[in-house]
């Protein structure tokens, strides 16, 4: 399998996260052939770099991941679209299903959220409750409670979930929902999770107000926790969400910048909420900044991977599976990972990206290019890299069923099909 050598990764000295893909190398047309399985062979990737590991807490996985990440400028090539590295390396460890493990803590989550949304006006109440119908995946609250328990065990051996930590789980879902409601107005969407959107049912103005109300309720719940640092951390999310939305308005002429822009936007729009919610629950139980950083980095990396997979599914999933029509992003004029990668192989895409697929036939043509390119595989591969980094981070916490569930979760993020 011939793959153009195009991804260059660099690890920032002193930082624990994957730094964003900082450049595309101008090496188009220099295909490198490599055996498909070589990526799994740790020894083919150079020597082990132990500096990245927390001393005294070696974790099997680190062998693989730190190898990947610590090399200064190494090439990465994927083998198959979705190798489940965690399953392979943990073949004998029993990894709990995250959903089952978090189930108990998430019981009545939506009832409790609806109680936070205290409004006397019946119609406004109905709008606010609309998406808190218990039909959502509650992906964010699940990560939050698992992270909370993992941090609690790491910090004091006790796994009990603190009430404030559960509040963070609710708040994360509320902030997420408020931003969805506003996004649907901005994008003019008429369906969401198989339901008619609020803007379609009640009009744009009421939808925006309902979103604002959910946000104010989330902010009140946050304030009642009574922790200034936690308030700060989650306020950052709100700012990131808006800045991410602004970033989506513009596209960059320069290809390197464009990819950086895309990943930064992805962090702000999706990963910041998960990262900072994880950080918030860690702050509530532990004063060690290193633990906060682990929680943040896990959330950040899983969040970016989650969105990358989402962007792939926009191309590969059938219309009804994701609850929105496929190629929805293209129709909105957005160039996501698969298109940006495809543009490397098909420079014809460049002008379409710049005009935001606005000319007749652009969407279909761009779609065709993406299908013919390996943009989808490349994006999936990138998502794997982020998941591996997430695993590396979370593995620095003391072992617990919840920590292992968070490891398992990365696999679910990569293999989900809706």
């Amino acid at each position: 399998m011939a793959i153009p050598w195009r991804l260059c990764w660099r690890r920032n000295a002193g930082s624990t996260g994957i730094t964003l893909l900082d450049s595309f190398c101008g090496t188009k047309g220099r295909p490198v052939s490599i055996a498909a399985s070589s990526i799994r062979r740790t020894d083919s990737l150079g020597s082990l770099d132990n500096q990245e590991q927390t001393p005294g807490r070696p974790v099997i996985l680190n062998t693989v991941t730190s190898n990947f990440l610590s090399r200064h400028r190494s090439r990465f090539l994927y083998s198959t679209p979705r190798p489940c590295c965690c399953r392979r390396t943990h073949s004998d460890a029993k990894l709990k299903d995250p959903f089952t493990l978090a189930q108990n803590d998430l019981k009545n989550l939506y009832d409790d959220i609806r109680k936070e949304l205290f409004v006397s006006k019946k119609e406004l109440k109905a709008l606010c409750d609309y998406y808190f119908d218990g039909q959502g995946k509650s992906f964010r609250p699940m990560i939050v409670v698992l992270m909370a328990r993992a941090c609690n065990i790491h910090s004091n051996g006790a796994g009990e979930l603190l009430p404030a930590q559960r509040s963070i789980a609710m708040i994360s879902e509320m902030i997420h929902t408020a931003s969805l409601v506003h996004d649907d107005v901005i994008d003019g969407s008429d369906t969401r999770r198989g339901k008619t959107t609020i803007n379609e049912m009640w009009g744009e103005k009421k939808a925006i107000l309902a979103g604002d109300f959910i946000l104010s309720a989330a902010s009140m719940a946050l304030a009642r926790i009574g922790n200034n640092t936690v308030v700060s951390v989650l306020s950052q999310v709100i700012e990131d969400l808006v800045r991410g939305e602004f970033m989506q308005l513009g596209s960059k002429e320069n290809e390197n910048e464009r990819f950086k822009h895309y990943l930064e936007k992805t962090f702000k729009k999706t990963a910041s909420l998960i990262a900072n919610s994880c950080k918030a629950v860690s702050i509530l139980v532990n004063s060690d900044p290193e633990v906060h950083e682990i929680a943040f980095q896990y959330g950040k990396n899983v969040g970016i991977a989650f969105q990358l997979v989402d962007d792939v599914l926009d191309f590969t999933s059938c219309a009804n599976q994701l609850g929105k029509p496929s190629a929805a992003d293209l129709r909105l004029g957005l160039a996501t990972g698969p298109v940006l990668f495809a543009c490397e192989q098909f420079p014809e895409l460049h002008s379409m990206i710049m005009r935001r697929f606005s000319t007749n036939g652009d969407v279909d043509r761009a779609w065709q290019y993406v299908v013919e390119s390996d943009g989808v595989e490349q994006t999936n591969y990138l998502a794997q890299r982020y998941c591996q980094e997430a695993i590396r981070q979370i593995s620095r916490l003391q072992a617990s069923p919840e920590r292992d569930a968070l490891i398992r979760l990365t696999e679910l993020v990569l293999t989900r099909d809706k």
Binding site: V119, S120, K121, E123, L124, H182, V185, I186, G188, G203, E204, K205, K206, I208, L209, D212, F213, L215, S216, A217, S219, M220, L222, A223, R224, I225, G226, N227, N228, V231, S232, S235, Q236, I238, E239, L241, V242, R243, E245, F246, L249, G250
Partner: protein, 381 residues
């Protein structure tokens, strides 16, 4: 909005049409003077407050896009225009009141708190930030108020595409202002303040949500009692200022009594102000050309309550020939014959007095006088 308020008040004051104020000790020559005098007291013109936000990349981006809306009917255009005038004319009233209130209350009388940094012109830095946040929230909702329902839009009104685009800009810029308010709030390092101001945002949303639901004929919204008007006006026009004034006290660690007085001042001042501006179309001496007025205005609401739904519908009928728009002159005259207008005036005066009552419980000072002047000016119609 602030600029509109003040313009209306200025017109009213200059013409000296009618003054129902009994506060002879304060005789502000004009609203503008009251405000500009007050601004000197707090140290710098309040127009600087949102400058940081206005100069951000995001908003200049929006400003660029908003230009495309010129020539369309999207409300964002007018809001943006008003916002620019607002900052030029130094009329960010809410921020100003918060600053004056902070100064009037002075430093905390409890043991000096080492955590509180030095005051500048008698105001703590955190209180200045709060004043800015109050303006950000107010402006955010001016913008979100102007979001258009696309289904109500007909082709005759102009291209739908423009409206979609205008909405997108309005959502984004309103969200941006709100997000800045949120991070600003967090930096105050006081979760009580975060809670109070967040609840004010919730109030504002509830108030705006029901705005404009009183259409002329609609009898399903027959609940137009004075009390329900006041509740509604408090949510949409009073809660933010009341709670910001309260929060300013909390930031200086003043006790609950002081917090409640500040809250009362903010609440009654806003309601007085709202009544004042609602009354403007009805205080002109002649009905030469009464502009179309909203059925939400206090005098109209009170009029409907006085005459009852049935008679109101009759009056509406009379003011409009079949298939033609409402004859506002006729309706205006009808409303003026009843007690709706004077009831609104009495209520305006009542709220002005209540505001004065609250502020006079603070020790005398320059800042207190300015707040008294503002409260008095509000009752002059």
């Amino acid at each position: 909005m602030a600029v509109m308020w003040s313009r209306l008040s200025c017109i009213g004051l200059r013409r000296g049409i009618r003054s129902i104020s009994l506060f002879s000790n304060t005789s502000p020559s004009s609203w503008t003077k009251v405000v500009s005098d007050a601004e000197k007291i707090v140290g710098y013109p309040t127009s600087f407050m949102s400058l940081r936000c206005l100069l951000s990349d995001e908003l200049s981006n929006v400003a660029m896009h908003v230009r495309k809306l010129v020539g369309t009917k999207h409300p964002l255009l007018n809001t943006a225009r008003g916002f620019v005038y607002d900052s030029k004319n130094n009329l960010q009233m809410r921020g100003l009141v918060v600053l004056l209130m902070s100064k009037a209350a002075g430093p905390s009388r409890s043991i000096p708190d080492p955590q509180l940094p030095d005051m500048v012109s008698g105001i703590y830095p955190s209180q200045r930030n709060l004043a800015e946040i109050t303006e950000l929230i107010h402006t955010a909702f001016l913008v979100h108020r102007g979001i258009v329902n696309l289904k109500d839009w007909t082709n005759a009104d102009g291209p739908l595409k423009d409206m979609q685009f205008g909405n997108k800009m309005a959502v984004l810029s309103g969200d941006f202002l709100l997000a800045n308010a949120c991070t600003g709030l967090a930096q105050l390092n006081n979760t009580k303040v975060v809670e109070v101001i967040s609840s004010a945002i919730g109030d504002l949303v509830q108030g705006i949500y029901t705005e404009g639901s009183h259409s002329a004929e609609d009898s399903s919204n027959a609940d137009v009692s004075l009390a329900s008007w006041e509740d509604q006006a408090f949510l949409s026009h009073g809660a933010l200022l009341a709670k910001s004034c309260q929060a300013a006290m909390e930031l200086a660690k003043h006790n609950m009594d002081a917090q409640m007085l500040a809250y009362q001042y903010g609440k009654h001042l806003s309601l007085g102000h709202k009544l004042n501006s609602d009354l403007q179309p009805f205080v002109k001496s002649s009905a030469a050309e009464p502009l179309p007025f909203s059925m939400d205005l206090a005098p109209v609401v009170f009029h409907r309550q006085i005459v009852g739904q049935e008679k109101w519908l009759q009056q509406l009928q009379q003011a409009r020939s079949i298939g033609r728009p409402i004859d506002y002159t006729k309706l205006w005259l009808t409303i003026k014959t009843e007690k709706g207008v004077s009831q609104a005036m009495d209520l305006c005066s009542y709220h002005g007095n209540k505001a004065l009552e609250a502020i006079r419980r603070f020790p005398p000072s320059e800042a207190r006088s300015a707040l008294e002047n503002i409260a008095s000016a509000v009752t002059k119609i």
